[in-house]
Amino acid sequence: MYNLLLDKIIEKVNLTCAEQEIIQKYFVPKRLKKRQYLLQEGDICNRLTFVSKGSLVSYSTDDRGCEHVISFSFDGCWAGDWASLYGKEPSSLSIEAMEPCELLQIRAEHQDLLFGLVPSYERYMRINHQNTCAAFQRRLESSLGLCADERYNRLIEESPVLATRIPLNLIASYLGVTPETLSRVRKQKYVCG
């Protein structure tokens, strides 16, 4: 259950066996069925969630009821409403399971304790957050500078897993295009090769 979490951390930093045990103690397992919510808009997000198995989608809903995908989290990724988690404000996102999920959660205040106990864990999180900020920047660059087919190609290149596991309407929403546009882009890509 904890293997993937520890593997991901050890990819970036060294951990002793004792440190691995401490880390495990702070994470609590949670299961979700497909389409169950991890977080609903308006709730306070007070836990970070690591996906051991399955996938989550984070989205916001506008005044007209349209949903806009902010991010996807697959096995080995983290999820949460960062603004709510770190600003202690009601969440403006909903997070839902796209597949049955096995998750590990840590409360924000427990994580602060863990940083003190295992400095390598803080180092891992710094690297993880830095990479997330870089990914957000790339997302902004793509949404502003690229057209629909370039955005789709880049997404599939960077995360091939998306193409096989995510419903097309969610990919369209993530890219900020209509499902019809995405369908045209895909047809062109796979017919022309």
Binding site: W82, L85, Y86, E122, R126
Partner: protein, 193 residues
């Protein structure tokens, strides 16, 4: 020269005099004139920069040659191409001075080594990135969910100094509007108070 950056860091960490000196000894001061570049598209940029004086905008150029602003930074902000510096790849964006500016710079390489020696610095940057994740998430939602008027209202409220100092055409681009449309929205918002 280093008073501001040390004050900025003291928000999240308490450094000893020796630690402050060690950090500052790694900072290089650079003066950048208005319209000069801090980061150039196509080049690898490995610096994290603290803005001591002045103001910058980060933008991308699309295939039609149109510029799209997506970040601003002024005194007491940190700015960089975080993607380029994290993954050591050529920048997609440009960062250019809007006013005559002064930055304090440290390379990613030096920063990584320093964080290993001084966990407090790690803690500081982990905290900064955590806040940046929340801001990015908010920025994406703003782009996806809000009307033009709401976007500008929030921008004014959150960043009054940007609103005062940055040329309107750049704010229009940041908010995803034409300068003419932005001008209408702006008068409307100011009139309404």
């Amino acid at each position: 020269m280093y008073d501001n950056v040390l004050k900025n860091m003291s928000r999240y960490v308490t450094l000893t005099k020796e630690e402050e000196d060690e950090f500052c000894s790694l900072l290089a001061t650079r003066h950048i004139k208005k319209k000069q570049f801090l980061v150039h598209e196509g080049q690898i940029s490995s610096y994290e920069s603290y803005v001591n004086e002045g103001c910058f905008r980060t933008y991308i150029i699309d295939r039609n040659g149109t510029e799209h602003n997506f970040y601003f930074a002024m005194e007491d902000w940190w700015t960089s191409d975080i993607y380029s510096r994290t993954f050591n790849t050529p920048a997609f964006c440009n960062i250019v001075a809007i006013e005559d500016s002064e930055v304090l710079q440290i390379t990613q390489h030096q920063l990584e080594a320093l964080m290993v020696r001084l966990p407090k610095i790690e803690h500081f940057f982990r905290t900064i990135y955590q806040r940046s994740m929340a801001i990015h998430q908010y920025r994406l939602m703003q782009q996806l969910n809000m009307t033009s008027e709401e976007r500008y209202r929030q921008f004014r409220e959150k960043y009054p100094e940007f609103d005062r100092r940055i040329p309107q055409k750049h704010i229009a681009s940041y908010l995803g509007m034409t300068p003419e449309f932005f001008s209408n929205i702006r008068s409307k918002v100011i009139k309404a108070g």
